[in-house]
């Protein structure tokens, strides 16, 4: 094949000379990854602040005058949208995807570096457009992150003027950015792997990112189109999603639209979006667990198939978010069945993570703590998902705090745990310095125990029937006094957890400024990204020649081998064995 040779040439790489070319308009995947990560973490901190403000209102209603009902709804909405799209999606795929794909599969860069650069700058524009909605008349939209019409564009909902328009525009721009990045990720993983890096030798991180990106490329179109249609409804007065409505006694100039259509389109995007966030996290946590347990990942092939099957199934479950919207009972039956089937590959993954730890040489490093914490939070969130997947159980629990607790455990806390595991794990590679372990452990225990303090009671509140998204509960006979006390406790826990995130920020700043240089490959990782000639990897990643891969990424504690891991690029004849040790032919 003539085009294989392209991967070996450095000519197509953009070699910047100036500071601006190197760090601002950079086409290097590592710089783009850092740009993505810093931006995403910055907006994530804003979203964290919004959640604290929201909790202040819920815990102490009436105590904080600056939180008006409108402002509360805006905080809820912006918190949700920023966390899901602009933090998790951007950080997992734009940040870690960009950084790790070329290093883990052994290329010099993404296949289309210029497009990759554009991807970041479009993302930044989408963030700026979103943030600008805080400063327009009426403020950002308060329609809830699901943006359901007709309320999202009708007077009465905060931000129904410019707020919702800016939100939809920002989403459309984000989708353009994601598409440019995503095309790069998929093409790079499919076509540009180094010699010996077969698909079934790729680290699970790459499998997770690959599948999530494909999901994104197929799911974001539904959001893009519904954003365009809603923009037309809001700006041109069309009636795609707008039925005939009487507002404040006045009939509006709409009729014949279908609000349910928006819900279908939104969730056709929204459910795969859960896995766009979860699958890269699944992949990264598999790698972290394997490395820090000094053991190969249990059931590698099944882990790969589970990722692929979850990705496929995620497209046929979307209406389980819409049971209360009403649908034909046969549809409810279908979507409940497909939803519960997803539990099978997911359970395979959880069992395999636990079996990876089983009899492993577990190092309780900071990344490992976060990874093990993830197994807990994800199992809890997943189990409450089994409840909500059933129509009859979902109907009474829908729109209560039980749902809030469920999805925060499964797609809020869990991916965040993995993100922290990944940040602590790959920080020495990116910066050449290792984050402080003591501060890291403090950060972990505060976050892990704190999230349980927040979300376990929330399940109970949900069972009591406390509704979500309400500004204040007021005097309600079915909500006992104890629920209000619990709400205060949750708020206090939330503030403490938020403060613990500052420990991480301090840790990063302190380490970058005055932390000691890390040793090469401090965790003893076998996969390619830690075996570049320079750490942190230089422009072009691999020096003179691309590495050749001889084994999978999980050769840890190979019986008879002298070292406890064998890097992927070490050929069998170069592996050192103990004298008299058993020579094992293959790592698997």
């Amino acid at each position: 094949m003539t085009h294989i040779a392209i991967a070996d040439q450095t000519a197509h790489l953009h070699h910047p000379k100036t500071f601006i070319g190197k760090y601002i308009w950079s086409q290097d995947h590592k710089v783009i990854a850092i740009q993505y990560s810093v931006t995403a973490i910055f907006v994530g901190l804003i979203a964290l602040l919004l959640s604290v403000l929201m909790r202040l209102q819920l815990g102490f209603p009436g105590q904080f005058n600056f939180i008006s009902p409108d402002a509360y709804l805006q905080f809820v909405t912006m918190h949700g949208m920023i966390m899901v799209i602009y933090l998790l999606t951007a950080l997992l795929l734009g940040g870690f995807g960009n950084y790790l794909i070329p290093l883990m599969v052994g290329t010099r860069d993404m296949v289309f570096p210029y497009l990759n650069m554009l991807s970041y700058w479009f993302y930044l524009v989408s963030v700026i457009v979103l943030m600008s909605s805080f400063f327009v008349t009426g403020g950002p939209t308060g329609a809830g992150w699901t943006l359901y019409p007709p309320q999202s564009i009708l007077a009465g909902t905060p931000g129904s003027g410019s707020g919702i328009v800016l939100m939809l525009l920002s989403l459309a721009i984000f989708i353009v950015a994601f598409t440019m990045g995503g095309l790069n990720y998929v093409t790079t993983i499919f076509q540009a792997r180094t010699r010996g890096m077969t698909l079934m030798r790729m680290p699970l991180t790459i499998w997770g990112i690959l599948t999530a990106t494909i999901l994104g490329l197929l799911a974001f179109p539904a959001l893009l189109v519904s954003a365009i249609m809603m923009l037309f409804d809001a700006l041109l007065g069309t009636s795609f999603f707008m039925p005939a409505i009487v507002s404040l006694g006045e009939p509006l100039n709409h009729e014949g639209g279908s609000p349910i259509l928006f819900q279908h389109l939104f969730w056709f995007f929204g459910h795969p979006e859960v896995y766009i966030v979860a699958l890269p996290a699944f992949g990264m946590v598999s790698d972290v667990l394997s490395v820090h347990a000094r053991k190969n990942i249990f059931g590698y092939r099944m882990m790969v198939w589970a990722i692929v099957v979850i990705g496929g199934l995620s497209f046929v479950v979307w209406a389980h978010h819409m049971y209360v919207s009403g649908m034909n009972p046969y549809f409810g039956f279908f979507f409940a069945t497909t939803t519960l089937i997803i539990a099978v590959p997911t359970a395979i993954k959880v069992y395999n993570w636990v079996l990876t730890l089983w009899l492993g040489n577990i190092h309780l490093t900071v990344p490992m703590l976060f990874a093990i914490g993830f197994i807990f939070t994800f199992t809890h969130g997943g189990l409450s998902g089994l409840f909500l997947g059933n129509v009859v159980v979902d109907l009474p629990l829908s729109d209560t705090f039980f749902v809030v607790a469920h999805f925060h455990m499964v797609m809020g806390v869990s991916p965040i745990m993995v993100l922290f595991a990944a940040l602590y794990h790959w920080f020495p590679l990116v910066s050449g310095k290792q984050l402080h372990t003591g501060l890291g452990k403090l950060h972990f225990w505060g976050t892990f125990l704190g999230t349980y303090a927040i979300y376990l009671p929330m399940h109970y509140l949900g069972f009591l029937g406390v509704p979500r998204r309400y500004y204040a509960l007021g005097d309600t006979s079915f909500i006992p006094e104890s629920a209000h006390v619990l709400n205060e406790d949750i708020t206090i826990a939330a503030i403490i957890v938020a403060l613990f995130q500052l420990v991480f920020v301090v840790n990063v700043i302190w380490t970058l400024r005055s932390g000691p240089r890390s040793v090469r490959n401090p965790w003893g990782v076998a996969s390619l990204e830690w075996h570049t000639p320079d750490v942190p990897p230089a422009h072009g990643n691999w020096g003179d020649a691309l590495p050749t891969v001889h084994r999978w990424a999980y050769d840890y504690s190979v019986p008879g081998a002298k070292h406890d891991f064998i890097p992927q690029h070490v050929a069998e004849e170069n592996v050192e064995y103990e004298a008299g040790g058993r020579r094992v032919g293959e790592g698997e």
């Binding site: 076509q191 792997r193 890096m197 077969t198 490329l217 365009i228 069309t238 009636s239 009729e255």
Partner: protein, 225 residues
């Protein structure tokens, strides 16, 4: 590793299939650019599918009657209303442009730069005339019939909304294609691809054929239904 002979002998059909498929450095025997275009088109297919599904849905939910497309899109020629005449011509032009595009790809691989250039420009001109006719159709609907995105004197307002949105989005695709074709055509003529090969012409062609194919679906679902 899993693809040693000992393992393969024991492994079943699926495992061998996966090993064969995954063992190569490239999953598809395609260049980077071509694969990227295919994936992009797959994503774009979803966009147009959602547009069409949204249109079908609002057509069902609309409370007013849906206008008869054969009457709305009729041209008054020689004293008689001929249904769908303009659309038929537009469809014919677009499908013809796919033919000239295919010929351009063939000429490009024969390294016949002059013929490639002429055929690509012919394709672009056909595409531009398609857009021109679309402008004519839009102006006829807006000025003569009084159709607006938000209202429609002939029945359901959603008719105008879906029509302008979908044909507009497709028209933007055609216009981008015309620009893309023109740029690549001039680069071909200037010898920009003499060394790296003429595959870009085929990639441009993929996009162009896709835009034509989408039009066939819009034609079938919007105009004929």
């Amino acid at each position: 590793m899993a693809n040693t002979p000992a393992v393969n002998a024991k492994s079943g059909y699926w495992q061998s299939l996966v090993n064969d498929w995954g063992a190569d450095r490239e999953v598809f025997k395609l260049s980077w650019g071509k694969l990227m275009m295919w994936i992009f088109l797959l994503s774009d297919t979803f966009i147009f599918s959602v547009f069409l599904i949204g249109y079908m849905n609002v057509r069902m939910s609309a409370t007013d009657s849906w206008p008869l497309t054969s009457e709305v899109f009729a041209l008054h020629v020689g004293g008689a209303d001929i249904p769908l005449l303009l659309i038929a011509i537009m469809t014919f032009i677009l499908i013809t442009s796919s033919g000239t595009m295919a010929m351009a790809v063939n000429c490009a691989y024969q390294r016949n730069k002059a013929a490639t250039f002429k055929l690509m420009i012919a394709t672009a001109i056909l595409g531009a005339s398609f857009v021109g006719m679309q402008v004519f159709e839009w102006s006829k609907l807006i000025l003569d019939e009084g159709v607006r995105p938000w209202s429609n004197p002939m029945g359901a307002a959603q008719f105008g909304s879906a029509f302008f949105m979908i044909t507009g989005f497709h028209g933007v695709h055609v216009s981008i294609g015309v620009i893309y074709l023109t740029v690549v055509a001039f680069k071909v003529l200037r010898g920009h691809y003499d060394e790296r090969g003429f595959q870009i012409v085929e990639i441009t062609g993929l996009y162009w054929h896709f835009v034509d194919l989408v039009w066939v679906f819009i034609f079938a679902f919007f105009y004929l239904w």
